[in-house]
Symmetry: C2
Subunit: 456 residues, 2 copies
C-alpha cells in the first residue's frame, strides 16, 4: 500500500459530461474542507459531516456560480477521506471554471478511478468490491446489475474469505508436518488432506465455471441468427424486439445503429446478429452464405438456425447444419409452423433433431425460444444465491488457483514431500489473494483503476 | 398563478444522461420526504433540512443501489418546496430503476423546466431570473456566463423595477389629472411629463440596443471570412485557433465537425465560417465565389475581407468589396504584409480604406485583428456595470414598451387627453411586466419552460 499517493487532495467531475440541470464536482483528501473554503462563500472547516451548504463560488470577486456543497468527515465518506461534493449548475463552462479554481487552490485532478482506488487503499472495500463499482456503473441489464451489486456489497469477498480459511487450515496441517520433518512423522492425515483439497477444488471450479454466465451477462450473449433467405430472420428479430422493446428502449445508451439488435430477456442482454445481405445470390451454397454465417457463428456463444418449415426438406436442413461447428450452442428453430400440415410436422418431430417450433409472423411459441436461449447460458444460476464471477481478472486468478491446487493434489497422490505441497498451497492462496487485493502491486492497481473513468 | 399544478410531487434526472460516477435524481413537492422514505432504508420524515443520508434503495427486497440522499425543507430549497436529491451510482440502469420506483410510489415525472417554473411560481425568483437559469446552463463563454449570472442574480430585475417605478410616478401624475378631468385642470406639468418620458425612453432604448451585444454573446458572433483563393483564409483561421485552442478545447460540447470554427476571444464566442470550396474554378468573378460568399456574409454579423497584399491591386480590392452589402460590419484585412515592400504598403495606406495589416503565416498583428473584431460588437459594454439584454423575448417586450412610450410622447406633444395618455402608459407598464412575470399567462409560461430540459 503506497501511502504517498493518498496524501494530496484530488478533484474531478463526478457526473457525466454534457448539459444538465446539475453537475457535481467531488473532492477527496485531507485538504478538501480547506481548499473548498477558499473559493466558497462559507467556511467549512467546522461544518458538521453530512450537511449541505448553499452559497456562492467566486473568483477574484467575479461570481462563478451559486452552488450546494456537501461535506463528509474523514472516515465517513466513500473514499474514507475528508470529502466534499459541489453541486453546480450543469454548465460545462461553470464546471470547468470551478475545477480550475480548485486546481489553483491546491487540488490535483484525480486520475481515472482514483476515488475508488482510495476507497480500496483506505480499507473501505476490497479490490473485487472496487472493481464492482465500475461494473455497477456500466451495468445495463437487470442481471448485470444484480451481479455487480452483489459483488460490490461483498458477496464474492466473503466466499473468498471462506476459501482462504480452508486453505489456511490445510496449510497449517501440512506445515505442522514440516516442523517435524526431521522426525518423519505424518501429522496431517493424507486422506483428510485429499478430501479438503478436493472440496476446495470443486468449489473453485464451480466459481470459475460461473464465469461463463457472468461474462455473458456482463458483456451480453452474442447470438448469431443463420438460415436461408426467407427463413424469417428479420420477422423473428422484429417479433422478439416488439415484445421487449419497452424494456430495451428505456435504457439509455443502447446503441441501435449497428447491425446488432440487443434484446433483454429476463434481465439477460442477448445481442442478436442477423446475417443480413445474404439474399441476393443464386447458388444454394452461396445462398446460405456459409462463409459469413460461419464467421458470425464462430464469434457467438449461441447460434439460432432458422428454417422455413413449410419449404425445407429434412435433408436440406441436415446439409445446412453440417456447416456449423459443434462446439457452439445450437438452437434449431422451425419457423412458419402455421403453414405446416400434421404430417410434415411429424416428419420433423421424428427426425431426432431437437427443435423449437414457432411462427415468427404470428408470434407463436416465442416463449419456448426464449426459454431455450436462457438455457444455453444456464441462467437458472442467477436465481440461486451462488456467487457468479463476471470479471476476467478474477476468472484468470481462479484458473491459476485451480492449477496450483491440482499440483497440490498431484503431490499428495504421488507422496511428494510436505515442503513442496506447502509451496503449492501458498501459490493457491497467493492467487486468491490477488482477487481481493490482499496481494496487490502498483502495476496491478494501476492496470485496474486506469480502466475507470475520471471522477469514479 | 395556477396552484393546481404545484400540488403534486415531481421527480426527474438532474444530471446529464450518460455514464458517470454519480447521477442525481431530484424530487420537489410536499410528498418528497414521504415518497423517498418508502424506497429508502431510512425514514426521512423527521430529517433536518440540509442533511445528507447514506443508505440503500430497495425494490421488493432487491437491492437497487447504495445512495446518498439530501433533504431540503419547504421554503429552504431551490423550488421553495420540500425537496430531495438522490445521488446514485451513475448507471442508466440504476437511475431508470429509481425513477420508476419513485413513479410507482406517487411521484410524477417532471415536465421540462418544471423545477425552475415552480421556483418562479413559489416566488423564489422572477421570470427573467428563471429564464437566466437556462441561459446559465447553456453558457459556454465567459461573457455569456457573465450576462446569465447577472440576470439570474436579479440585476435585470432591479433595473426593471426602477423603470416601473418611474412609470408609476408618471402614471400617478397623469391619473391625478384624470380624477379632476371635469375641472379641466392640468396638475401634471407637461414639461415635467415630457422630460420623464424622454428619460425612460432613452433608458429603455439603451437596454434594447444592448440586445445586439447580448444576442451576439449568447449565440456567438457569426463571422464570414471571404476573399480570393490563396488569400490565406485557412492560415488565418489556424493561426487564430492555435492561439486560442487551449481555451476552446477546454470547454466540453464544442462542436468541431462543422465548417464553423468557434474561437473565443476575450470571452466572446466568434463563429468563423470559411468560404471553403471556392478554389477550383477559373473565371475571376467565379473564383471569388460571389454568390456563396454573399450568402454567408448576409447571414453574418461581421465579415472579414482577406486579401493577399503582395498580389492584389487596389482596383481589384475595390472591385471585390463592391460585391458586399454595406449594412454588415466590415473588416478589411491585408494579409502577407511580410512579402510587401514599403512602397506597396504606402499605396494601401493611402487608399482611404480602413484596413488591418497582418501576416497570418507569421502570426503578426493578430491582436489588431482581434481588437477590431471586438469593436464590431461594442464589447466594451461588457466591462461596465450596465445590464445587457440577451433574451429575445425580453428584447421583444422592450421594443413594445418603446412603441407605447413613443405613443405617450406623441400624445403629450399633440395635447391628447389624459385618459389616452394613461392608456399608453399602462400598455408600457404591461409590456415591462411580462419580462419579470408580474404579468404572465399559462401560455407564456408554457412557452418559456417547455424550452428547458427535463430536470431543470
Amino acid at each position: 500500500m503506497n501511502n504517498l499517493t493518498i496524501n494530496d487532495t484530488i478533484c474531478a467531475l463526478a457526473t457525466p459530461n454534457g448539459v444538465g440541470a446539475i453537475g457535481m464536482i467531488r473532492l477527496s483528501g485531507s485538504n478538501s474542507f480547506n481548499i473548498t473554503s477558499k473559493i466558497f462563500s462559507k467556511n467549512l472547516l467546522s461544518a458538521k459531516t453530512h450537511t449541505a451548504h448553499f452559497g456562492t463560488i467566486k473568483n477574484e470577486g467575479e461570481l462563478i456560480d451559486e452552488v450546494l456543497v456537501n461535506v463528509f468527515e474523514q472516515g465517513k465518506s466513500f473514499t474514507g477521506e475528508e470529502s466534499v461534493e459541489i453541486s453546480c449548475h450543469g454548465s460545462s463552462y461553470i464546471l470547468q471554471k470551478v475545477l480550475t479554481l480548485l486546481l489553483e487552490n491546491g487540488c490535483r485532478l484525480a486520475n481515472p478511478g482514483e476515488f475508488t482506488q482510495r476507497a480500496f487503499l483506505n480499507g473501505k472495500m476490497d479490490l473485487s468490491q472496487a472493481e464492482a463499482v465500475a461494473d455497477l456503473i456500466a451495468s445495463q441489464s437487470n442481471s448485470a446489475h444484480h451481479i455487480a451489486m452483489k459483488q460490490m456489497r461483498g458477496g464474492f469477498s466473503s466466499e473468498l474469505k471462506d476459501l482462504r480459511e480452508k486453505l489456511i487450515h490445510f496449510a497449517s496441517l501440512v506445515e505442522l508436518e514440516l516442523d517435524f520433518a526431521e522426525e518423519d512423522v505424518e501429522f496431517a492425515d493424507r486422506t483428510e488432506l485429499n478430501d479438503l483439497v478436493n472440496n476446495v477444488l470443486e468449489y473453485i471450479r464451480k466459481l470459475a465455471k460461473s464465469f461463463e454466465l457472468g461474462n455473458a451477462i456482463k458483456n451480453g450473449v452474442p447470438v448469431a441468427i443463420v438460415g436461408q433467405p426467407n427463413a424469417g430472420k428479420s420477422t423473428l428479430l422484429n417479433a422478439l424486439l416488439n415484445e421487449e422493446r419497452a424494456i430495451v428502449s428505456d435504457i439509455a445508451g443502447t446503441t441501435r445503429d449497428t447491425i446488432e439488435e440487443r434484446i433483454i430477456i429476463e434481465g439477460i442482454d442477448f445481442r442478436f446478429v442477423d446475417t443480413a445481405g445474404l439474399r441476393e445470390t443464386e447458388d444454394y451454397i452461396e445462398k446460405l452464405g456459409v462463409e459469413r454465417a460461419l464467421k458470425q457463428v464462430d464469434e457467438s456463444a449461441v447460434y439460432l438456425y432458422l428454417f422455413d418449415a413449410s419449404k425445407l426438406t429434412l435433408d436440406e436442413i441436415k446439409k445446412d447444419l453440417e456447416q456449423f461447428p459443434s462446439d457452439i450452442s445450437q438452437i434449431i428453430v422451425a419457423n412458419k409452423t402455421d403453414l405446416l400440415d400434421e404430417k410434415s410436422l411429424k416428419v420433423l418431430k421424428d427426425s431426432g433433431l431437437e427443435m423449437v417450433y414457432i411462427s415468427a409472423k404470428h408470434k407463436d411459441s416465442l416463449d419456448d425460444l426464449k426459454e431455450r436461449l436462457l438455457k444455453t447460458i444456464d441462467a437458472d444460476q442467477l436465481n440461486s444465491d451462488d456467487v457468479i464471477v463476471s470479471n476476467a481478472r478474477h476468472y484468470d486468478a481462479l484458473i491459476k488457483t485451480i492449477s496450483a491446487l491440482e499440483k497440490t493434489k498431484h503431490g499428495l497422490e504421488t507422496g511428494i514431500t510436505a515442503d513442496f505441497i506447502a509451496m503449492d498451497i501458498r501459490q493457491a492462496m497467493y492467487e486468491l489473494g490477488t482477487i481481493t487485493g490482499d496481494i496487490s502491486t502498483d502495476d496491478l492497481l494501476g492496470n485496474i483503476f486506469s480502466k475507470f473513468c475520471i471522477g469514479k
